[in-house]
Symmetry: C2
């Protein structure tokens, strides 16, 4: 049948596609009948509730149903075919995807800087997906243009700014990139048109323990990784301001032009907070843009008890903060916040596309915020955070943060009561970094192969827990430290028993090593 024979005139009504269907309404035809579609969605929703949410949060179920890649590939039958599949087969696929995926909601998932589930946020995410719009103009996203601004404004208030600007980005790395581009534009606006050849060699400063996205940004933006100058850290992992000052002077003496310091609130591994007030002094003295990568740590600003960790944050020029981490807003939700009130964000990024940003629209064009972005289409990331915030209030989010600190403290104290556990540093935040020395290694600290043997413990215990599915926690080496565990304690759905189980399980899995 040719396309011409399928001209719409022959297929009036809402179900005009049935003539293209072979083998029944669900096979090989675009599913465009709304009633059938809603039925599929409803059936899939039930499976999602049961398999991903009920089982996914149940301590009696596994955190992951591990399969090696080749086996999983066969199990999932991933290849795509000419013909479509039946309703029943597709629902089974929904079930399988849920079954073999890691349950990041599970109380025993300590592996990443996100965990747990917030059902209000999740409802907001379902609504976002259903409304399927892009954040560029008021015309096509009226609710979300207004909502984004309110949410950003509330986050800015927590930073300590009465005014400013901002945007939601696809993740903290991109937020950090925005900071680098804006800092560069403020210092050398000619780069936008003429490129880096028009300006002297630039220099960025960040700590040795910053997130790797600072280096990725420098590479992507043509600045080059060698022009990111690593600043030394103190034993707890915070940037040393005196060394920052030295590195700035050194770069200048080598002919480079410093323009940006990227400090970190909550480093990825240790959870350290850079001393912002002292770093801000250095930035002021040298006229540098101060960006704070608070993707991980920013949420402490909700807590009256813990926000001192970010003392001085209001002196920053920009902040990256991911509510999808500690606040459980769901991936992705990354706010890039700016102190600037001169429309720098738009001036730096705008391209004035006529087909989106018509100048003769009938409403106030300042609501068409899309040209602030380096994206064109941009996902709506504000609704989930807004709905969750409406649901629990600022106090509820504060409680979430305080509770994570309290649970962390509990875990650390319990760890100290047990043999074989050794903290890498006393946690400032909710990253609990520790070595576990099994019985055979205890008292052997002086032996020649101690470090090599200790380095093998974490990977082995990790493999065992994943194959068993009992829990998940990350590990890594760092500088001269051999492999150590990093347990991230953040979900308010955790109980004391979960944390005790965590310690018991490390002991069980490592006892024979």
């Amino acid at each position: 049948m040719s396309a011409a024979a399928r001209v719409p005139g022959e297929t009036p009504g809402q179900n005009g596609d049935s003539e293209g269907v072979k083998g029944g309404p669900h096979l090989n035809g675009p599913l465009t009948d709304h009633d059938e579609g809603l039925q599929f969605l409803t059936d899939a929703f039930e499976i999602i509730l049961e398999e991903a949410l009920r089982k996914g949060t149940d301590r009696q179920e596994k955190v992951c149903e591990w399969r090696d890649p080749e086996e999983l590939r066969v199990l999932l039958d991933l290849d795509l075919q000419e013909a479509g599949e039946s309703h029943g087969r597709l629902l089974q696929r929904v079930r399988d995807v849920a079954k073999y995926s890691v349950k990041t909601h599970h109380p025993l998932f300590f592996n990443q800087l996100f965990a747990g589930v917030d059902y209000h946020s999740l409802a907001g995410r379902f609504l976002t997906e259903t409304l399927n719009t892009s954040q560029y103009t008021y015309e096509v996203a009226p609710v979300f243009v207004l909502m984004e601004e309110v949410v950003l404004s509330e986050l800015r208030s927590l930073v300590g700014w009465a005014a400013g600007d901002g945007i939601f980005c696809p993740g903290g790395s991109v937020s950090n990139m925005y900071a680098m581009n804006l800092a560069r534009y403020r210092a050398f606006p000619e780069v936008k048109l003429r490129g880096l050849w028009a300006v002297p060699r630039l220099a960025v400063f960040t700590s040795q323990e910053c997130h790797y996205s600072v280096r990725k940004s420098a590479s992507f933006q043509g600045i080059g990784i060698e022009n990111v100058h690593p600043v030394r850290v103190d034993p707890r992992g915070g940037m040393i301001p005196e060394d920052l000052e030295e590195k700035i002077e050194l770069a200048k003496s080598q002919g480079a032009v410093p323009f940006l310091v990227s400090a970190t609130s909550g480093t990825t591994i240790l959870g350290a907070f850079d001393p912002l007030d002292r770093i801000a002094d250095v930035c002021e003295k040298h006229g540098l843009w101060l960006h704070v990568d608070a993707a991980w740590g920013g949420s402490v600003l909700f807590s009256k008890k813990h926000r001192h960790l970010m003392k001085g944050i209001e002196r920053a020029d920009s902040v990256a903060w991911n509510p999808h981490k500690m606040l459980m807003a769901g991936l992705q939700c990354s706010a890039f916040l700016l102190k600037d009130t001169t429309n720098l964000l738009k001036r730096c990024h705008c391209a004035n596309a006529t087909y989106l940003f018509q100048q003769d629209k009938f409403y106030d064009l300042s609501y068409d915020t899309g040209d602030k972005s380096v994206q064109c289409g941009r996902k709506v990331d504000c609704l989930k955070l807004w709905l969750m915030w409406k649901a629990v209030g600022t106090r509820g989010l504060e409680e979430r943060v305080d509770k994570a600190f309290a649970y962390t403290r509990f875990l650390v104290e319990e760890m100290k009561k047990r043999e074989g556990f050794q903290l890498v540093v006393e946690p400032e935040f909710v990253n609990v970094c520790f070595w576990y020395a099994p019985p055979s290694l205890r008292g052997q600290e002086g032996s020649e192969d101690y470090r090599d043997r200790l380095a093998k413990v974490a990977p082995t215990i990790k493999e065992r827990m994943v194959r068993k599915g009992s829990m998940m926690v990350g590990y890594q080496p760092q500088h001269d430290r051999v492999n150590f565990f990093r347990a991230v304690v953040l979900s308010p759905q955790l109980t004391r028993d979960d944390l005790l189980f965590f310690l018991d399980e490390i002991e069980r899995l490592g006892s024979d090593l």
Copy 2:
């Protein structure tokens, strides 16, 4: 109550947060009780089905319930408070967000390069949101690491490549940025470490009608907008290869080093396809990377009947293709495809973070694909496309594309039968660009103020349709063309009657102008 008093020991069990709750279980406490959470989600799901999907696709309902920004702000009560809100109030908020959002699923939404709804994709999106994981490692996203590779491989097959590489990016602009960065890295790998100061001034070539993201990329990546050389287009909007060659020679003569041609398959406004084969000849001759921005047009590769529009695509080095547009996979779903088989993507972007990409893992590390990305956390964008593809098969997607072309042809033929409608160009694709001259303007083409008066027609009709909520279609000026409409015809849920209504409504809204 201090945080210390809330140490988890006092609150065992799954509902350990009730002691922090004031005013009932739904007020001011993190919602962490799973049963309550599931109930909220289920209630919200019912509202989403009714308000966003049933009403959102119903021709008797409005495409948008327009409110001016200040009025909408008050209606929505967006401000965030210290205390949380009740279950019932929150459900009303879900209803309100749906009510005042634009119904991009509505058959009379012709405003953007996306429209319609695919329920299988939507189910995949709900599952993605629920599983809440990031695409960086096999460890934490086993299903999606394998699935992404299968989907990318199938898309590459349609391009005509038996092997290659790729990644899903947050939108077509970012995919285009990836192309620019990779092309630069292939030509000058030293940029990654040393920055652009280490290399001569670079030059990019793209047509006058390319997407604005090419210029945004050049700015963001430090190359500068002035180093993007616009190539002239023929009357239908396709790049003129002879002019490309001239511009390359000119740039070289001015001391710049060409490295990238960004061609377009499906321009944003007219839907034009650049002549890839002839552009590839030029790229080969000069040793330039050929990127094809097929974000919009790429889906024609599914159609045996229409894929000739992209003849020569297999000669490209990279392709950006957004299945969230014509295939209805849902925002965001943007594939960046590469012909390269030398691991260029990873070499260009890798930072080897130890906490994610441990080298002593127990499985094949080639499955940890996250270091190919300039993001760290990265949303799962493959599941929705995969599930939809499984559901309707390759043939179903082909049918979707063919149908959009057939409907476009129908609209164009109907338009030609009516007075006052004038095509800007004969459509190559599914963008129908046209002026509408109301009765008072007909026969006045020679008058002095004709252009000025015609330019005001589209904005006025647009305002009227939006305030009425009857339909949505975009408009823009272009070069020396005054404002014209661009109707995007893509949803298979359209009927002939919808298209006739579209024309009737333009006439009704513009008759008195």
